[in-house]
């Protein structure tokens, strides 16, 4: 193996290249830069493909990094003064600039409306479609929530309770020492027995750790979303005994923490009171600002043991860059980031909204929430 130290010009450019990559979000720290410089000393620098493949191997760590890498490699290669063949250009998807669809039931009434009408039923349609109570059949599972009568919303709590029972008893795969447990902790027992000349007087046990997942729900309650927000919150609160902690936030243009109001069983009453407190506001949704406010205000709620659910249709009137950055920050700390979008239920929907486009790269699970089937499907995502 021959190692030739890289010359100064090459070294300088390599470091610049790594810095450029780092600015674009790649994991190219000084230690990667050192590896890159060493790699360049080990390969054939006249071979463009080999240089490209080598540096890509050192400086990227996921396929999503490749487009950025390819782009910046181009200028790196050019600065080294080597001839460059044109590379294929990565196609960019067109972004939709369409207007936000109007609400299914009511216009832009927002947070105040949501809080006032919390749990008050959604059957304000002139002719509510009546269906048998135990809606467990295939067709009911597929029926959109917006077509549900108030009595049928009861079914949601039932689904939640059923799932809660299953979630409650998922032990972790890891063990912890305990006074009593299923298995003898041999390592500890043996260590303790040494005091007694190797006689087992007291046994140490171990048992499965309990999973302690936290659930953070951030709900969009602007006009088009309040129906789904109500359903999700109702569902989540049916589950709250299965989690170590459930935290709830609602937002439209600003973020509100409503955990305390929902905790006790009289939350409907509490919400009414809250509804009158809420300052007046109108207009669009600021998802990015709200998520950023959450990151800033409650950073300790989110760690690797937390599942974060954001419920929104992605119609953000703020800057998509801000949303992207806020979500990236959230994703970095959260165990799992789930985005529920009720519009995903309609087959024609394409997540082309600018806000949604900015959000997608940071989301672990992008799922729908528009009928009972999607609610049941949520169960598996709640397990960390």
């Amino acid at each position: 193996m021959t190692y030739q130290p890289a010359n100064d010009w090459l070294l300088y450019n390599t470091v610049q290249f790594c810095r450029a990559l780092r600015e674009r979000g790649l994991l190219a720290t000084p230690s990667e830069a050192i590896d890159a410089a060493m790699a360049l000393g080990l390969i054939d620098l006249d071979d463009r493909e080999e240089t490209f493949l080598s540096l890509r191997s050192v400086l990227t760590s996921r396929p999503e990094d490749f487009p950025v890498f390819e782009e910046l490699f181009e200028s790196f290669w050019a600065r080294l003064g080597r001839s460059s063949q044109p590379r294929k250009i990565v196609e960019r998807e067109g972004l939709s600039t369409g207007a936000r669809p109007s609400s299914r039931n009511h216009g832009q009434k927002g947070l105040a409306f949501f809080l006032e009408h919390w749990g008050a039923g959604v059957s304000r349609d002139p002719e509510p479609i009546s269906l048998p109570g135990a809606s467990n059949t295939e067709s009911d599972a597929e029926k959109d929530f917006s077509l549900f009568g108030a009595d049928e919303l009861e079914e949601i709590s039932r689904v939640a309770r059923r799932i809660a029972r299953r979630l409650a008893r998922i032990p972790s795969r890891r063990w912890e020492t305990a006074r009593r447990g299923l298995r003898v902790d041999l390592r500890r027992t043996l260590r303790q027995s040494l005091k007694n000349g190797g006689e087992f007087i007291r046994l140490s046990f171990k048992r499965r750790k309990q999973k302690k997942t936290r659930l953070v729900v951030i709900c969009d309650v602007s006009g088009s979303m309040d129906l789904y927000s109500q359903i999700l919150l109702q569902f989540v609160y049916g589950l709250q005994n299965s989690f170590a902690r459930v935290e709830t936030f609602v937002f439209s243009t600003k973020l509100e923490r409503i955990t305390g109001h929902l905790r006790n069983n009289t939350y409907r009453h509490a919400l009414k009171r809250l509804g009158t407190d809420v300052r007046g506001w109108s207009g669009g949704t600021l998802i990015g600002v709200s998520v950023a406010a959450f990151n800033f205000g409650w950073p300790k709620l989110v760690d690797r043991r937390a599942v974060v659910i954001i419920l929104s249709d992605g119609w953000d009137t703020g800057e998509p860059e801000e949303l992207g950055a806020a979500l990236a920050e959230l994703k970095r700390r959260a165990g799992k980031l789930i985005w529920l979008n009720p519009l995903l239920g309609s087959s024609a929907y394409q997540p082309l909204v600018r806000g949604m486009q900015a959000a997608l790269p940071h989301i672990d699970v992008f799922a729908s929430l528009h009928n009972l089937a999607s609610l049941r499907a949520l169960e598996k995502h709640l397990i960390l």
Partner: protein, 290 residues
């Protein structure tokens, strides 16, 4: 292209592993820089196969650690041999050694059960290939155990202290991306992404791995699989499935593909009922270029 890179490509070819420049370059760098190689890609594209072929090519021992959720230090790194420790305590009951001496003795290397990771770094004769397979199946706590081994090639046992590798293993990690790996782990590895092979490459692989298959049949099989991959199925067949199917066709003495043979053997490369139905519909509609 560098001589060494070409050599690796040639060595792998002799193990009937058809590689390309990306694979060979990454392997070369991983070996030259002494860094682990993290290989990601869809299921069945031959990620694990790289490590096996590398071991064969280098004539090195392959130490394999299959990851699963809840995998912990006692199954992956080391465990104390409790029965042996107990026996020793009993035997020495009346010995004059002090308690501290007895303790030091039973917590020493002869009482250690080596699990794959410790096994890989204590090989006394030569560098083995350490394959940490499907790392994404393990949980994040386990990744933390790996960090020391991956960066310093050593294991620290509280009772003994650090054990350093006598011969640095060549480490290959594979992941199906079922979850995101931590940045700490990614940073310690070189990265290689493998996708489904092109028609030409897959044809080469089929001919190398299933030599009994005729030229015409191998072309048909490869073309069919390439078409199936475009169908947007729940479980897209990987190269492993192509090879299974090719071997099955050889066993059945099929000389060419027709609808009947395909329907009978589709289970070799489609492992999902809905996929099978979709495939059969496409097949009978003649949209798969048969």
């Amino acid at each position: 292209m560098r001589e060494e890179v070409r050599n690796i490509q040639e060595l792998l070819r002799r193990q009937a592993y058809v590689s390309d420049a990306a694979v060979a370059t990454s392997l070369y760098l991983a070996m030259a820089l002494g860094k682990p190689l993290l290989i990601e890609g869809p299921a069945g594209v031959g990620k694990t196969e790289i490590a096996k072929s590398l071991a064969d090519a280098l004539d090195a021992r392959l130490v394999r650690l299959q990851c699963y959720e809840g995998l912990d230090a006692t199954t992956a790194i080391y465990e104390w041999n409790y029965p042996k420790q107990l026996l020793r305590i009993k035997l020495q009951e009346h010995a004059s050694a002090s308690a501290a001496e007895k303790e030091a003795e039973i917590f020493s290397e002869p009482f250690l059960l080596k699990r794959p990771l410790l096994e890989a770094i204590t090989d006394q004769t030569s560098s083995p290939v350490l394959l940490i397979d499907e790392i994404d199946r393990s949980d994040e706590e386990f990744e933390a155990f790996l960090l020391e081994i991956l960066s310093d090639f050593q294991v620290t046992i509280p009772e003994i202290g650090p054990i350093k590798a006598t011969h640095r293993p060549y480490v290959v990690l594979t992941s199906n991306r079922s979850r995101e790996l931590s940045d700490a782990l990614r940073r310690r590895c070189l990265y290689l992404w493998i996708n489904y092979p092109s028609f030409q490459k897959e044809l080469e692989i089929v001919r190398a791995k299933v030599p009994a298959i005729g030229e015409a049949l191998s072309t048909e099989v490869t073309r069919m699989i390439q078409a199936v991959r475009k169908l947007n199925l729940a479980k897209t067949p990987g190269v492993a499935e192509t090879l299974d199917w090719a071997s099955a066709l050889v066993v059945l003495n099929a000389s060419q593909l027709d609808e009947e043979v395909i329907t009978e053997t589709a289970g070799c490369f489609l492992k999902d009922e809905a996929d099978l139905r979709k495939f059969e519909a496409e097949l009978s509609a003649g949209r798969l270029g048969l």
